[in-house]
């Protein structure tokens, strides 16, 4: 079976700089693969290992995707091929723009049996792109998938909802977004890292694709800032463990929370 796994390159939040006016800067942040997408890659890899076929990774974004380190990073995690769509206008794409671009790329990539997504991106965490892509492609589409098996050209999946786990039988092709606990992604081996730079990479611009619509965002971003932190007392308690315990109990009973 041929599987496409979509991933997003995001700024590492550890490198986020909060400016004195409360605004944030990510200009210097390192670009990393969104953590939740790694579970979708692993899920795709396990399916291909078991059932044959190939795993293709796909991402859309700015030319930061073309950085050789990023390309090597995703390919060392198992995909056989990499497809990248880049354009400066995708820097702040909303979920609708991202989904439409992915749909156009998936159509151009040809036959595929399954499109996989992570639960949501590590930066914006809308948890929407996989669902939108599936709907636009007219495919059976589900989120919250915590287990995937394939047999006789059908998928059997577990969907982890708030109070229950549903088991569905779904026809292929389909689009699925996986949970944050579906698997534990393996670390790239030295062999995979060496192999990564030899794998095929296809690079497209927006002009290479047929994208529907006006290309404009549906959600406008009015402001981005650091959250205001509540004023906390920040009282340091020091001393021997016994003294610390007594002092803390004193404070907490005064607060009326014991």
């Amino acid at each position: 079976m041929n599987i496409i796994v979509c991933y997003k390159l995001i700024p590492d939040s550890e490198d986020m700089v909060i400016k004195p006016d409360g605004s944030i800067s990510l200009d210097q942040a390192e670009q990393v693969i969104s953590e939740y997408d790694l579970l979708a890659v692993e899920a795709g890899l396990q399916l291909v290992e078991k059932n044959g076929g190939k795993l293709m990774a796909l991402s859309v974004g700015t030319d930061k995707l073309l950085n050789s380190k990023s390309k090597k990073d995703i390919l060392s995690r198992g995909p056989d091929e990499l497809y990248l769509v880049t354009d400066a206008s995708l820097a702040n794409a909303d979920t609708s723009q991202t989904a439409k671009t992915l749909v156009a790329a998936i159509k151009k990539m040809g036959d595929c049996d399954l499109v996989l997504f992570g639960e949501g991106s590590g930066d914006l965490y809308f948890q929407q792109v996989g669902l939108q892509v599936g709907e636009l492609l007219g495919l059976p589409t589900f989120n919250a998938i915590s287990k995937i098996d394939v047999a006789d050209g059908k998928l059997t999946v577990e969907r982890s909802l708030e109070d229950e786990i549903d088991v569905y039988s779904i026809s292929l092709p389909a689009a699925l977004a996986v949970t944050t606990d579906i698997n534990v992604p393996r670390l790239p081996s030295m062999k995979e890292i060496l192999k990564a730079s030899k794998k095929p990479v296809v690079e497209w611009s927006l002009q290479d694709l047929t994208i529907t619509g006006d290309g404009k965002p549906r959600v406008d971003v009015l402001a981005v800032r650091a959250p205001k932190s509540a004023d906390r007392k920040r009282i340091k308690i020091e001393g021997s463990p016994e003294d610390v315990a007594q002092t803390l109990i004193g404070y907490l009973s005064k607060e009326g929370v014991l």
Binding site: L131, F142, D181, A226, I237, E255
Partner: protein, 317 residues
Amino acid sequence: MAKEIWVFSEKPALLAELIANALQLAKADGASVAAVVVGNQQVIDQAFAQGAQKVYALGEKAADVLLDDFIPTIISLTKSKTPALIIIGATRQGKAVAGRLSAALDASTITDAKYFNQDSGGIEVTHLIFGGGAIRIEKANTATVVMTQGSSIVDALPPNASAKGEVESVPFVQPAWKATLVERKQKPPASVNLAVAKKIVCVGRGIAKKEDLSMAFDLAGILEGEVAATRPLTEGLDWLPRERYIGVSGATVKPDLYLSMGVSGQAQHTVGITDSRVIVAIDKDKEAPIFPQADYCIVGDLYQVVPALITALKARK
């Protein structure tokens, strides 16, 4: 047609909160509030009791039918009526409804919206990004705006059992595809509901091994509180069930007392504890980001401090 704000959730308690929020937003420009309901007369009556002025009744759902099978009906209804706003309960199924609906409407859902602020040009909302490390103020520019709202963002109104309103029956639109429900396994009932806990002892990676969790349970026992954890302990290490996880994709809590041991305080976790009344942090790293966010800061070895605290609390009883 007068402007309408719609609400949809398969969870009755959440639906009541969505209605309360929609009524608040509708006040500003004379819109009316309609609930889109999959369910029987009782569910419809409940929507009216909580304040809905109209109900679009999609019918009852048979046990082997998926809520997702109603999405084409919701899409078709939304396209024909063009409500100004549809607020969907932010459950996993709710997010599936929102995503597929917004794709069909050529819109983009704002998920987990908070702090709804209405002005003449539409509704601004706050949406956490980077796992709570930053917030964005967003405004959708589509004819129908789609948002999802989680629990405890707005309080439900007291129900008025005698309230009634117009019911419009909506014919079912056959979906182009269906999944077959093979089995439905109830998750074991949650052993803990952190959202309502008054006291919480939270453990993080500073705990060296699973056996040491007993210390946290001992402390929580004396405090008559619950044990919670950061994500690595519930996903990855699997030392505790996921329902005990506080953070961006887990629980949000507002206890009187939150006491952490060995929690470093990454934004992905602390986004879930900001509404706690009193925060106590115990960690050996004096640079840990939890300390600036705490009321009482104990830099020390939790393996010494926590047993001493347990002994002192026991002695007090």
